[in-house]
C-alpha cells in the first residue's frame, strides 16, 4: 500500500493536471474501510472535470455514504498521459479518497451519461485488474454495475456489465447494497446467486439472464429469459416525491476548475415537453417537482457548505418550473449581497424565459443561448418542439432589449422529413435576429451583434418516437451543413457544424445491440479513449474495429426500422410504451403536435400507470414565501 502511494506520488508531477487524481477536496468523505461492511467505487468513465460536474454522481455519493455500513469513493478515467504512466509503473486504478485500488472494492459503479464514454469503461476495468467480461468474473471480483440514461439500451455493453440499474437511483441503490451485504455475510457463495437476487429488484437488469436470437436478415428474432429469477421486462426504478428524498447539501468541492463549477440544486426531474428526438424527455417521465420551500432551503445549505459563488437551479428545462419566477427572484435577492449569482442552465425559447434568465444572469451577460432545434415551423411540428415563430422573435426582442449583444442558437439537422427549405429556415432565424437587433439597437449598434448558429446532427435514440428513424450519414450531413452555411449571408452570423463522424459512431452505440459489443471492445484495443472529445476521437479506428469484428455500421445507423421489429431494448421499460412511440412517430409524419401533459390532457404514454406515479407540480404554499 505504501508502495502504491510512493508510485503515485512519483508519477503525479509528470502528468497534466495532477490534481485530477489526488483527491483531498472539501466535503470528500473518507471512511475507515475496516469499519464498514460494503465498499463502492463510483467510477466515472470520463475525466475528473466532467465527472465532478455530474449532479447524479454527487447524489449517489451522498446516498451511499449516508449509510453507516457503507463507504463510497470516487474514481475517474485517467487521461491518456496518466493511463500510460499507470501502465508503465504498474499502478492500478485507484480512488480519490484513500488511493485504494478499485479492484479491491465490493462494487464498481459506472454512471453512463453519454455513449462515447463506453471505451473508457474498459480502461477503468482493465486498470482495476477486473476481467472485462461479466462471465469471466469470480466471487472474488467486484460486482460491476452501471446506471444513468444510457442503460436504457445497454445492450452494446451487455457482456461487460453484471447489472444495469434503470431509473432513479435513490431507493434502488439501497436495495442493491442490502442484497449484496446479505450475500457477502452469507459467505459470498455463488456469484450467480447474487445476480439472481439482484434480478428480483425493480430497476435491476442482469444481461446474462437474457439471450437474444437473430433472424437471417439480421434483425432480432426474440429475447429469451434464461433464469427464472429474472422478469420478462425490467421496469425502471422511480422516485415519486422529490421532497421525500435526501439531497446532497454538502457536495464535494473540487480544487481544480471543472466543467460545471457551481452549486447545483435540482428543481424537478423529468420533462414532458415531448420533443421526439429527446431521450431524456422520454425515459424520465413524468415531471416531479421539488417544492419551492425545499428548493430554497437546499440552495441556502449548499451555498453555505461549499462556498460556491454561483448557484444553478437545474432540471431538463428550469423555465418550466412552476414557481420559477418567484424562487429565482427570492434566491437572487438573498444571495447577491454575499457575492453569489443564481443561474439557470438552459433558456426556453420565449420572452418570459429570456427575461427570467436576464434578471439573474450576472455572470455571463455577453450572450444568451436558445435552442429552437428546428428551423421551420413545419419541422418543429414534426419534432414536437412546440415553439412558434412568434416565440422565437419575442425571445430575440427580449434578449436585445435586455442589452445582450450576442445570441447563440442551437439547431438539429438530419431530422426526419427534412427538406432544404427547412435547412434554409435555420439560417433565416439568424437573419431575423439581426433585423430585430437593428430595430431595437439601431443600425450602428447592431453592427456589433454576433449570432452563432450551432448545428448538430440528429442521432436516433432508443425509447424515443424517432427510434425507428435512420441517421442521414456522413456525406449527407456535410451537404446539409453546407446548405445552412451558404444561406447564412451576413458576416455577423457564425456557423458551427458538429462532427458528422462522431455522430455516426454515437448511433452505433445508441441503437446498437449485443453484436456491437465486439466492435466497442475492438475499438478500445485499437486505442479508442475519450471518444466524446474531438481531439481524442479517431473515426478510422472505429471503422477498422467494425471491419475487424464484422459489424456493419450502416445496418445500425442508416436503416429505417419497422414498427413490428423487436428492438434490443424492448425488454427494458422506461415508462413510455412502444405502442405510444409508434403513435407518436405517426403523428410526427403527419406534422401533428402533442401537448405537454403537465398543463393539458394526458396522452397516455404509459409512464404514470406503469410506475404508479403522477405529474407533480408544486406551486408555492400560501404565505410561505
Amino acid at each position: 500500500m505504501n508502495d502504491l502511494v510512493a508510485k503515485i506520488q512519483a508519477v503525479l508531477p509528470q502528468v497534466a493536471k495532477p490534481a485530477r487524481y489526488t483527491g483531498g477536496e472539501w466535503n470528500a468523505i473518507v471512511k475507515d474501510h475496516t469499519q464498514v461492511d460494503l465498499t463502492v467505487a463510483w467510477t466515472f468513465p470520463d475525466s475528473y472535470e466532467v465527472g465532478m460536474s455530474h449532479l447524479g454522481s454527487l447524489i449517489m455519493y451522498h446516498q451511499i455514504n449516508r449509510r453507516a455500513d457503507a463507504c463510497c469513493e470516487r474514481a475517474y478515467a485517467p487521461w491518456p498521459d496518466m493511463e500510460a504512466k499507470m501502465r508503465e509503473h504498474n499502478i492500478p486504478l485507484f480512488t480519490m479518497e484513500t488511493w485504494t485500488p478499485v479492484g479491491g472494492f465490493d462494487i464498481i459503479a459506472f454512471p453512463l451519461l453519454y455513449e462515447l464514454t463506453y471505451t473508457n469503461l474498459f480502461t477503468c476495468l482493465d486498470l482495476a485488474g477486473v476481467p472485462l467480461r461479466s462471465a469471466d468474473r469470480t466471487e472474488a471480483h467486484p460486482l460491476v454495475i452501471a446506471g444513468g440514461p444510457c442503460v436504457f439500451n445497454c445492450e452494446p455493453l451487455a457482456p461487460f456489465l453484471d447489472v444495469a440499474v434503470l431509473g432513479d437511483g435513490e431507493f434502488v441503490i439501497h436495495e442493491i447494497l442490502d442484497a449484496y451485504k446479505q450475500w457477502k455475510e452469507a459467505g459470498r457463495a455463488s456469484r450467480r446467486e447474487l445476480l439472481r437476487r439482484l434480478a428480483g429488484i425493480t430497476g435491476c437488469y442482469v444481461p446474462a439472464f437474457y439471450e437474444p436470437s437473430y433472424r437471417p436478415d439480421g434483425t432480432i428474432e426474440k429475447y429469451i429469459v434464461t433464469d427464472s429469477a429474472a422478469p420478462a421486462v425490467v421496469h425502471r426504478a422511480t422516485v415519486d416525491d422529490l421532497d421525500a428524498i435526501d439531497f446532497p447539501t454538502a457536495p464535494v468541492v473540487p480544487n481544480i476548475d471543472i466543467v460545471f463549477d457551481r452549486a447545483q440544486v435540482e428543481v424537478f426531474r423529468g420533462c414532458t415537453r415531448g420533443c421526439r428526438f429527446c431521450h431524456a424527455g422520454m425515459v424520465t417521465r413524468p415531471v416531479r417537482e421539488r417544492s419551492p420551500e425545499k428548493v430554497q432551503q437546499l440552495a441556502r445549505e449548499v451555498v453555505r457548505n461549499t462556498g460556491y459563488s454561483e448557484l444553478s437551479l437545474v432540471s431538463l428545462s428550469t423555465a418550466d418550473y412552476t414557481d420559477v419566477a418567484n424562487t429565482v427572484r427570492k434566491l437572487s435577492a438573498e444571495m447577491t449581497c454575499a457575492g453569489v449569482n443564481v443561474t439557470l442552465p438552459s433558456t426556453r425559447v420565449d420572452a418570459f424565459s429570456v427575461q427570467i434568465a436576464d434578471a439573474v444572469q450576472q455572470v455571463n451577460r455577453s450572450s444568451v443561448t436558445l435552442a429552437p432545434e428546428g428551423g421551420s415551423a413545419r419541422i418543429r411540428r414534426v419534432i414536437n418542439k412546440t415553439v412558434s415563430d412568434r416565440d422565437i422573435r419575442d425571445a430575440f426582442k427580449a434578449a436585445f432589449t435586455a442589452g445582450y449583444k450576442a445570441i447563440k442558437l442551437y439547431f438539429m439537422i438530419g431530422l426526419p422529413t427534412e427538406t432544404d427549405d427547412d435547412l434554409r429556415a435555420i439560417a433565416e432565424k439568424g437573419h431575423w435576429a439581426l433585423e430585430i437587433a437593428e430595430e431595437i439597437l439601431g443600425r450602428q449598434e447592431a453592427r456589433n451583434v454576433r449570432i452563432t448558429i450551432s448545428v448538430s446532427t440528429f442521432t436516433p435514440k432508443a425509447h424515443t418516437p424517432f427510434q425507428f428513424e435512420p441517421q442521414v450519414g456522413i456525406e449527407e450531413t456535410q451537404r446539409r451543413q453546407w446548405v445552412v452555411k451558404r444561406a447564412c449571408k451576413d458576416r455577423r452570423i457564425e456557423f458551427k457544424g458538429h462532427h458528422s463522424e462522431s455522430s455516426l459512431i454515437e448511433v452505433l452505440h445508441s441503437v446498437g445491440d449485443r453484436r456491437v459489443s465486439a466492435a466497442l471492445l475492438r475499438a478500445w484495443e485499437l486505442g479508442a479513449r475519450f471518444d466524446g472529445w474531438t481531439d481524442q476521437f479517431r473515426y478510422e479506428r472505429w471503422v477498422q474495429a467494425c471491419v475487424d469484428v464484422g459489424v456493419d455500421i450502416k445496418y445500425y445507423a442508416a436503416r429505417r426500422k419497422g414498427y413490428g421489429e423487436v428492438f434490443a431494448w424492448d425488454h427494458l421499460f422506461a415508462g413510455v410504451t412502444k405502442e405510444w412511440l409508434i403513435d407518436d412517430h405517426m403523428r410526427a409524419m403527419a406534422e401533428t403536435e402533442v401537448a405537454d401533459c403537465r398543463w393539458e390532457n394526458c396522452d397516455v404514454c404509459g409512464a404514470c400507470m406503469a410506475f404508479g406515479v403522477q405529474p407533480v407540480l408544486k406551486p408555492a404554499k400560501e404565505g410561505s414565501l
Binding site: L12, A19, W26, S309, V363
Partner: protein
Amino acid sequence: MKLRIRLAKQHTARFFSHLDIQRTLERTLRRAALPLAYSQGFNPHPRMSFASALATGASSEGEFIDVDLTDDVAPAEFVARANRCTPPGLTFVDAREVPAKGDSLFSLVDTAAYRLTLSAASVAVVADAVAAFLAQDVIEVAKEGKRGTRLVNIREQVYDLAVEGSLPEPGGARVVVNLRAVLQSGSQGSLKPETLAEGLAQVSPAFADTVLVGTHRLMIYRREPRTGALQEPWDL
C-alpha cells in the same frame, strides 16, 4: 481592515495551480463566513491580492495574501476560523493587520527562499557544483521567451546557495540532498529552481545526473540591493 496572511501548501495541495489556489481560498473564506469585502461590478470577487505565483507541484510554507475585510476580525480568530474550512494540505499559518492603503504585495517582494530536494550520486557532487557555481560571476543559461530564446545570466539571480543536509536514498546507492537556495522571484525577474539545476550541471558536469525531486518554498522577501538584507512581508 486589511490582513496579511501567511499560508502553507503541502501534500496534495501542492498540485493546485495558482488559479486553483485563488478559487479555493475564495471558497474557503466564504465557507468560514468571514466578512470579505467584494469588488464592484456584475461579477463581484472578494478583494484578495497574492504575492507571487508558485509552480504547480511545489510545496510551500511561505505563501502570502492580503485580504480586505468589511469588519474587524482579530488575526488569530481569522486564522482559526479559516483553518476549519480549508481542504487538506492548505493551512493558514499566521495573519497580521497591515495598513489598508499600502502597496500591493506583488510589487513589494522580489526574492524567495527554497529548500530544493535533489537525488544525487553523492553529497560531494552537489557541494562541488555549488562551490563552482558561486565562484563564477557569469553563468548563462538559454531561456525561452516570447521573442525566441535568449541567454540569461542566472548567477546574478542567485543570492545564496548552500547544502543543508543529506540522507541515503532508501534502497539505493544515491543520496537525497537538501539545498537551500535564495533566488530572485518577482516582477523584475524570477529564477526557476529547474533553471538553477541546469546552471549547476553547466558548471559541474558531474552534477548532470542529479534530479530535482522536490521544490519547497520557505519564505518570500524584499531584498535590499545594496546590503543584501532580506525583509519578510510582515515588515513591509
